[in-house]
C-alpha cells in the first residue's frame, strides 16, 4: 500500500480508537500493534516492550516527575494564597488592580508549578471569590483565571516544553527561555483585556478597593520569599552551568518539598502522601503516553509514513506561512480534544522535518505550538481549565466561564500573530543567554 494512504488509514484509526474512550497511552499501543502486525508481521509485536522500555531509557525524562513534584508540593500549601495576597496589597491602586494581581499571581505560580490546572486551582480558589465579592463581572473573574492558568504550560518550567524537547531532541534549556517573553506578552495582553472589559462593563465605578498601609504591604513580603528562593535556585542551577534541566528539576522538587514541610508546616504524613500520590499519578500518566508514543512513532517510521507525509507536505509548493496557518489550525483542532502532551508526541516527529525544511526555527515553533495547546485548555469540549474553574466556583455556570474565556482565546491568537510577525519575541532571550543554536 502507498505510504500516504497508509498514513491516512493510521490517522483515521487513531482518531477512532482514541475517541472510543480508551486511554491515550493504551490507544497508541493498540493502533501501533494493529498496523505493525498487519504490515510487518506478527513477530514485530515482540519488539513493543523493548521499544517502550527504550523510549523511557533517558535521563531527560527525569525532569517530568521532578517538576510535577515541585508543582504538587507548592499547590498543596498556602503558597498560592500568600502570593495572591502579596500582589493584591501592592497592586491595589492600579486600575483593575485585583484582576491584575490575579493574572500576575497566575504567571508567578506558573513559573513554580509548570502546570495549568494547578495554577488555575491555586490562584482561583482565592482570586475568584474575592473578585466576585468586590464587584467584578463573573465573566472576567473566571475567564481571567482560566486564561491565567494556561500560562503554566508556557512559562518555564513547562512540562509541555520538556516533552517537546524530548520528542524533537531540542535543548530544553533553550525552550524554557523561549517561553519567557511570549509568556510576559500573553500576561500583558490578558491584563489589557481585563482592564478594558472591567471598564467597559461599567463595574469599574462600583469596585470596592481596599487600601493597605505600608506596614501591611511590607508585612506580607517575607511570606513570598520562599517563592523567590525557588525561582532563583532553579534558574541559577540551570543557567549557571551547575546542573542539567533534569538535575535542576530534582533540586526544585527537593526545595519545594523542604519549603512545604518547614515553612508551611506540612508535617502530616497524609498530606505528604497526597503530594506524592498526585505527582505519581500525573507523572506515570505522562511518561506512559511518552513511552507509547515512542512505539507509535516507530510504527510510523518503519512503515515509511513519517517520511512520506513530510515529503508530501514539502512538495505541496504552498507559501510557508499558508503552511504554518494550516498547521496552526490542525494543532488547534487537535488541542480541542487531546491533552497537549499527546498532541506533541504524536505530531512533532511528523511536523518537525516539515517545519525545518520550510525554514522555521524549531524553538520558535515550540512556542507557537504551546500557545495553541493553551487555547485547547480553555476551549470546549475538553477545556480542562474550564472544568477546574467550574469546580472552584460551582455557582457560576460553565457557559459564563466559557464566555469569559473567549476574549482571552482572542488574546492568544493575537499573541500567535505577533510572535509570527516578530519571531524575536521567542528567540531573542535564548540567543542572548545561550548563543545562537547550532
Amino acid at each position: 500500500m502507498d505510504p500516504l494512504t497508509l498514513g491516512a488509514l493510521v490517522g483515521i484509526s487513531t482518531i477512532l480508537v482514541l475517541f472510543s474512550g480508551v486511554s491515550v497511552g493504551i490507544g497508541l499501543l493498540i493502533v501501533s500493534a494493529i498496523f505493525l502486525m498487519i504490515f510487518d508481521g506478527f513477530g514485530s509485536l515482540e519488539l513493543m516492550p523493548e521499544l517502550l522500555f527504550g523510549k523511557l531509557d533517558s535521563f531527560a525524562l527525569l525532569s517530568i516527575p521532578m517538576f510535577i513534584i515541585m508543582g504538587a508540593s507548592i499547590s498543596s500549601t498556602k503558597a498560592g494564597a500568600d502570593l495572591y495576597e502579596a500582589l493584591e496589597r501592592w497592586l491595589t491602586r492600579v486600575p483593575g488592580g485585583l484582576v491584575i494581581s490575579n493574572l500576575g499571581a497566575c504567571a508567578m505560580f506558573a513559573a513554580m508549578s509548570g502546570s495549568s490546572p494547578a495554577t488555575c486551582a491555586a490562584i482561583g480558589k482565592m482570586g475568584i471569590p474575592e473578585m466576585l465579592k468586590r464587584g467584578y463581572p463573573p465573566t472576567i473573574a473566571t475567564g481571567s483565571i482560566a486564561a491565567g492558568g494556561t500560562l503554566g504550560i508556557l512559562i518555564p518550567p513547562s512540562i509541555t516544553m520538556i516533552v517537546y524537547g524530548i520528542a524533537t531532541e531540542t535543548s530544553i534549556g533553550r525552550l524554557f527561555l523561549a517561553g519567557v517573553m511570549p509568556g510576559l506578552l500573553l500576561v500583558s495582553l490578558f491584563m489589557a483585556w481585563s482592564i478594558y472589559a472591567t471598564w467597559k462593563s461599567g463595574a469599574r465605578k462600583d469596585l470596592q478597593q481596599r487600601v493597605y498601609s505600608w506596614k501591611e504591604k511590607f508585612e506580607i513580603l517575607p511570606r513570598v520569599i520562599p517563592f523567590l528562593v525557588i525561582i532563583a535556585g532553579v534558574l541559577y542551577s540551570m543557567y549557571g552551568g551547575i546542573a542539567t534541566p533534569s538535575e535542576t528539576a530534582a533540586v526544585g522538587a527537593m526545595l519545594c518539598l523542604v519549603i512545604s514541610i518547614i515553612v508551611y508546616k506540612l508535617l502530616n504524613p497524609k498530606d505528604l502522601w497526597a503530594i506524592l500520590r498526585d505527582s505519581t499519578k500525573e507523572s506515570v500518566m505522562i511518561l506512559f503516553i511518552i513511552a507509547a508514543a515512542g512505539v507509535f512513532s516507530y510504527m510510523l517510521s518503519s512503515l515509511f509514513i513519517t517520511q512520506s507525509i513530510a515529503e508530501w507536505i514539502s512538495n505541496l509548493d504552498i507559501n510557508r506561512w499558508v503552511l504554518m496557518g494550516l498547521i496552526n489550525v490542525f494543532l488547534l483542532v487537535a488541542g480541542f480534544f487531546l491533552p497537549p502532551v499527546a498532541v506533541i508526541l504524536m505530531v512533532a516527529p511528523i511536523l518537525l522535518p516539515v517545519i525545518v525544511t520550510a525554514g522555521f526555527d524549531p524553538i520558535w515553533f515550540a512556542v507557537i505550538l504551546t500557545i495553541n495547546m493553551e487555547i485547547g485548555l480553555i476551549s470546549p469540549p475538553v477545556g480542562l481549565n474550564l472544568y477546574v474553574i467550574n469546580g472552584i466556583a460551582p455557582d457560576i455556570p460553565l457557559k459564563t466561564i466559557l464566555i469569559g474565556s473567549l476574549p482571552f482565546v482572542a488574546c492568544m491568537v493575537i499573541a500567535i500573530i505577533l510572535i509570527s510577525l516578530f519571531p524575536g519575541i521567542a528567540t531573542w532571550l535564548p540567543e542572548v543567554l545561550m548563543g545562537k543554536a547550532i
Binding site: 513493543m48 527525569l62 516527575p65 505519581t280 506515570v284 500518566m285
Partner: protein
C-alpha cells in the same frame, strides 16, 4: 477528561468481591512503590549534584540508577493510575452516548485495553527471560544485569492487566459506572 473515582461512584454502593479488593490493594501497593521510587530518584539526583559540585567526585552509579528508578516507577505505577482513573482519555463520545451504548462501549474498551496489556505483559516477560538467560548487562561502567530493570515490564503490565480485569468485573457487577461517568 480525568475523573476522580470517588466522585463518580453509583449511588447504590455494592460491596466489592474479595478478589477485586485484593487487586485494588495490589494496585495501591504498586502506587506506593512507584511514588517511593520517584522520591528516591529525587534524593539520588540531589546527592549526585552535591558530590559532583562540592567534592568534585565522579558520579558513576547515580545517573543509571535514577533512569532505571523512573522507568520502574512508570511501569509499576500503571495499575495504580488505572485504579484512580488517572490515565487521560477522550470521553467526548462516551458522554454523548445513551447509558446502555456507553455501557457496551466501556466493556469493549476495557477488553481491548486488557488485550494489548496482556500482549505487552507476554512479550515483556519473554524479553526479561532472554535478558536473564543470556545474562545481558548494560554497556556502562556499572554493568547492571539487565534482567533487574527489565523485570518492571512483566510486573507493571501484569498488575495493570489485573487492574483492568478488576475494572471490567466491577462494571459487569454494576459496582462502577461506565468510564466512571455516572449518569452525566
Amino acid at each position: 477528561m480525568t475523573n476522580d473515582i470517588t466522585e463518580n461512584l453509583p449511588d447504590e454502593v455494592i460491596e466489592k468481591p474479595f478478589l477485586i479488593r485484593v487487586i485494588l490493594a495490589l494496585s495501591t501497593l504498586a502506587g506506593w512503590c512507584s511514588a517511593s521510587m520517584i522520591l528516591i530518584a529525587v534524593f539520588i539526583t540531589c546527592q549526585m549534584i552535591f558530590v559532583r559540585s562540592v567534592f568534585n567526585q565522579s558520579t558513576i552509579w547515580q545517573t543509571e540508577t535514577v533512569i532505571y528508578l523512573v522507568i520502574a516507577a512508570t511501569l509499576i505505577g500503571l495499575p495504580f493510575v488505572q485504579k484512580v482513573r488517572g490515565h487521560v482519555n477522550v470521553d467526548l463520545i462516551p458522554l454523548l452516548l445513551p447509558m446502555r451504548v456507553r455501557y457496551f462501549l466501556a466493556i469493549f474498551t476495557l477488553l481491548i485495553s486488557a488485550l494489548i496489556v496482556a500482549v505487552m505483559f507476554w512479550y515483556g516477560l519473554e524479553y526479561w527471560h532472554i535478558a536473564l538467560k543470556k545474562n545481558w548487562v548494560s554497556d556502562t561502567v556499572m554493568e547492571v544485569p539487565l534482567w533487574i530493570p527489565y523485570s518492571a515490564l512483566p510486573i507493571g503490565f501484569g498488575l495493570f492487566f489485573l487492574q483492568l480485569m478488576a475494572d471490567f468485573f466491577s462494571l459487569i457487577l454494576k459496582i462502577e459506572s461506565p468510564f466512571g461517568l455516572g449518569d452525566k
